[in-house]
């Protein structure tokens, strides 16, 4: 079923490609037509091959090919080729994403192409016809900047976060440099260095390698995240904690962490710590059998011991280890200060124990937390929790 759909999609791409070739041949003739069709096919392929980012969105490789089209073809030809290719890509990606997403993608790319062509004409008008490498690179950089700006604008319009985060910047860097190299290879500089269509074909190799690396990284990151989420379910599937406890505590802790302006990597550690903070329960013996309730301190120590053995999770282990100790430290100078993240985890955990994820009990829960002596819960964290709840209790219920 899935395979059949994929095959029909492939067929669609091939048919569109042949049609495009025929149209190109009929309209322009000559030697440029074959290259134009190949480049348009490159745009279609570039819509399917996407540099995947952390937030599930991506940057399509088509921008690099669009740079070549912008530089080496007249405005109407480039525009027509890109529009046609985007139409084909719209059809070829049926089933991969929603209609709205595909429409936004096509509109973004067509607008980016228009901006790119406009920017290119503008730069050429200012610096004159390009004949040196410096001028070529300058004009290409301006074209690329225009495309990035349009891409960002459309993302903002559909309420997506910026693609200029740390991984996104790296992706754009690879795209810009590869695209420029492809464009220089295709068109040459001042008549020299013209390797034709072989330029884009060959210099797409590093970009394809980057795509592969981004794809692997994103899959591995997702699998790792899901492994941790699966593990977080163990205590509740064993009936040792309330259902949904781990995910609710993680959501609350993350929200508090954001209010307290934790940096991104600390938020990651906090989330892992919150998801796994009860894992030790399943390692220790069943309280119903041994007759003694597991001491939180012991659970935390066992959990932390496990996490600290996994180098990338060691910080999360530290957060878990310090969680039951935190109230000893507040206000006492002789005891070492524990990380604020541990206090967040403690408050988020206690809040869920009291509210049980039920909206009606939120008010009473937060009052109970405030009613504790000042050294039990950090007041900054409690205030942050209150702010989180006032701003609509995101995912806390």
């Amino acid at each position: 079923m899935k395979l059949a759909r994929r095959r029909s999609r492939l067929l669609l791409v091939i048919v569109t490609g042949v049609l495009g070739a025929a149209i190109a041949q009929a309209s322009f003739g000559g030697g440029g037509a074959g290259s134009l069709v190949l480049l348009a096919a490159g745009v279609v392929l570039g819509e399917i091959l996407v540099l995947r980012l952390e937030d599930g969105t991506g940057i399509p490789l088509s921008y690099a090919v669009m740079l070549v089209l912008t530089r080496s073809f007249t405005a109407p030809v480039a525009m027509a080729a890109i529009a046609l290719a985007e139409g084909a890509a719209f059809l070829a990606t049926i089933g991969r994403s929603s209609t709205k997403q595909r429409l936004v993608a096509a509109a973004t790319r067509i607008a980016a192409a228009a901006a790119a062509i406009g920017a290119y004409r503008g730069v050429v008008a200012v610096v004159g016809v390009e004949e040196t490498l410096a001028k070529v690179l300058l004009s290409l950089a301006c074209v690329m900047a225009a495309m990035v700006a349009v891409h960002e604008l459309f993302r903002a319009l559909v309420h997506l976060p910026t693609s200029l985060g740390s991984r996104g910047r790296t992706a754009w860097l690879a795209m810009v440099s590869s695209g420029m190299l492809m464009a220089v290879g295709y068109g040459g500089v001042d008549g020299g260095a013209n390797v034709g269509i072989w330029g884009p074909l060959l210099f797409s190799i590093p970009l394809l390698a980057a795509w592969y690396a981004f794809d692997r990284l994103e899959s591995a990151r997702r699998t790792h995240k899901q492994t941790i989420e699966a593990l977080s379910l163990a205590p509740e599937l064993g009936g040792l904690v309330r259902e949904g406890h781990a995910s609710r505590v993680a959501a609350t802790a993350l929200a508090i962490g954001r209010v307290l302006a934790f940096p991104a990597d600390e938020l990651d550690h906090l989330e892992t710590a919150a998801l796994l903070h009860h894992l030790g329960e399943v390692i220790l013996d069943d309280p119903a059998h041994s007759g003694v309730q597991n001491v939180p301190m012991e659970v935390a120590a066992v959990t932390a011991g496990m996490l600290r053995e996994i180098a990338p999770l060691a910080v999360a282990g530290d957060i878990v280890a310090a969680e039951p100790l935190t109230h000893h430290s507040a206000g006492r100078s002789e005891v070492p200060a524990y990380p604020l993240a541990s206090q967040v985890l403690k408050v988020a955990g206690a809040f869920d124990d009291l509210s049980g994820g039920e909206a009606v009990r939120i008010g009473a829960a937060i009052e109970t937390l405030y009613a504790n002596p000042g050294y039990v819960y950090d007041s900054r964290v409690l205030d942050a929790l209150e702010r989180v709840l006032l701003e609509g209790a995101p995912a806390a219920v």
Binding site: A220, T223, G238
Partner: protein
């Protein structure tokens, strides 16, 4: 790399002297190479060696040959062989090799790569009319230097192994093919880089290096995340086996048997990887089974048995949360004792894990009985083929173990353990848990 072995001193002296000799000779008879490309490509060669990526298989991938190839093209224009020689020799400059005991590797690598590069440059010059031709044909220009480079490199490295008495020529002949396949794409890129350098200028070098570096760094972080996940699964399995001391090494062995079967059934590497994870984590639900039940000697009551059995449901519940294991998780339960084990429309992996799990359960000592012999385990796999086990998987496992000449089961167990209560001798129970409760007891519950 390990410390520099003293057996290679003579060999290294000869190779490095040859390099110096050739360099001096070229310096006397040739025009001197220009400084800018020499410094640029030399620096890039050193840099690319320091940014090598080690693949999980242990293979080292660097973009070094791309730089060497570009320098061959650029210096061919100046009719200089000394340029490529020096760029190749620069590859040997590797910071960790400056430590004590490692320094011998510096002239060793410089000598071998330098000589291989200069021969590759000669091969490039030998076919000039093709190389300067039109575009599709010009690609062929990358072939002779790559062949020459790989051949010389292989010959010298193989000789060094021979001198060191670690590997023979015959053993190393299989390395040539993969080496050639790995270098050719870099050679093509290098050829174009060189031509663009000549036509356009040094700026293009930066444009090519940036995406390669991005790909490299991203791939390295992928390997790190992958390793983090491996570590997570490893620690988890340790925790699991700490709960149930009878199952020490069980997950690893099931993963090994599953690999045997998977390789026999010619699964693709991606599926083998998924199979390995599924096998390692097949018992993950046991995390929720109370410790005293896992370690209880002898029979369980019906209620206890149900509780132990619940781990299968929990395993499925947990594994379906992991996208790439989900297709395997939801079929891993309910197969025992039912028809459908030969159903080809469903993934084969759960059947592989079932067979591997049962074989290891039978051939290791559990709290409820001692290990069975390998012969009895094989017979049990065959008897239950078609009903409890997938025939193809069972036969593949038996064949793979017999072919390797490995022995498992009574008398061959990896870890001998001390028991508080000695497990009983009797009991068959091919699914590991099958004879935990007498059938009547289960039926009664």
């Amino acid at each position: 790399m390990s410390n520099f072995p003293h057996q290679l001193r003579w060999f290294t002296s000869v190779v490095f002297s040859a390099l110096v000799g050739v360099a001096v000779l070229l310096g006397l008879i040739e025009p001197a190479p220009t400084l800018l490309p020499l410094l640029l490509f030399g620096a890039l060669a050193v840099f690319s060696e320091h940014r090598a990526v080690t693949l999980p298989g242990g293979m080292n991938v660097t973009a070094g040959f791309m730089i060497e190839m570009a320098s061959i093209v650029v210096f061919a224009e100046q009719r200089s062989l000394l340029g490529p020689l020096l760029v190749g020799a620069a590859v040997g400059i590797y910071q960790p090799n400056f430590r004590r005991g490692m320094r011998g590797w510096l002239p060793f690598n410089s000598g071998i790569i330098g000589l291989a590069t200069v021969i590759a440059a000669l091969a490039y010059r030998a076919a000039p009319q093709v190389v300067t031709g039109e575009m599709p044909v010009a690609i062929l220009g990358a072939v002779p230097p790559t062949l020459a480079f790989v051949a010389v490199n292989w010959l010298l490295v193989a000789t060094s192994f021979r001198v060191e008495h670690t590997r023979t020529f015959r053993e190393m002949i299989g390395d040539i093919g993969p080496a050639w396949g790995q270098q050719l794409p870099f050679a093509l890129l290098g050829l174009f880089l060189g031509r663009l350098y000549l036509d356009v200028g040094p700026a293009v070098v930066v444009l090519l290096v940036v995406p390669i570096l991005v790909a490299r760094e991203t791939f390295a972080s992928y390997l790190r995340v992958k390793e983090a996940n491996e570590a997570t699964v490893r620690v988890l399995i340790q925790a699991l086996e700490a709960k149930d001391r009878y199952t020490a090494g069980h997950a690893e062995r099931v993963a090994r048997f599953a690999r045997y079967v998977g390789e026999d059934l010619k699964l693709m590497p991606g599926r083998l990887e998924r199979l390995r994870f599924a096998a390692l984590m097949h018992d993950i639900g046991k995390l929720v089974v109370p410790n005293h039940l896992l370690n209880k000697p002898g029979k369980l009551t019906a209620e206890e048995y149900a509780k132990v059995r619940s781990h299968e449901r929990v395993s499925v519940e947990m594994l379906t949360r992991i996208d790439f294991l989900a297709p395997l998780a939801d079929v891993s339960v309910g197969d025992h004792g039912e028809a459908g084990v030969e159903d080809e429309s469903r993934p084969i992996e759960p059947h592989i894990v079932a067979v591997a799990d049962a074989f290891d359960a039978m051939t290791s000592t559990r709290s409820y009985r001692r290990a069975l012999s390998q012969e009895i385990a094989f017979r049990e796999l065959r008897d239950k083929s078609g009903s409890q086990f997938n025939t193809q998987c069972a036969e593949a496992l038996i064949a793979a173990i017999e072919r390797r000449g490995e022995r498992y089961g009574a008398g061959f167990e990896e870890a001998q353990q001390e028991w508080a209560v000695a497990p009983p001798e009797a009991g068959l129970g091919s699914a590991g848990l099958g004879d935990l409760a007498a059938p009547a007891e289960v039926a009664a519950s």
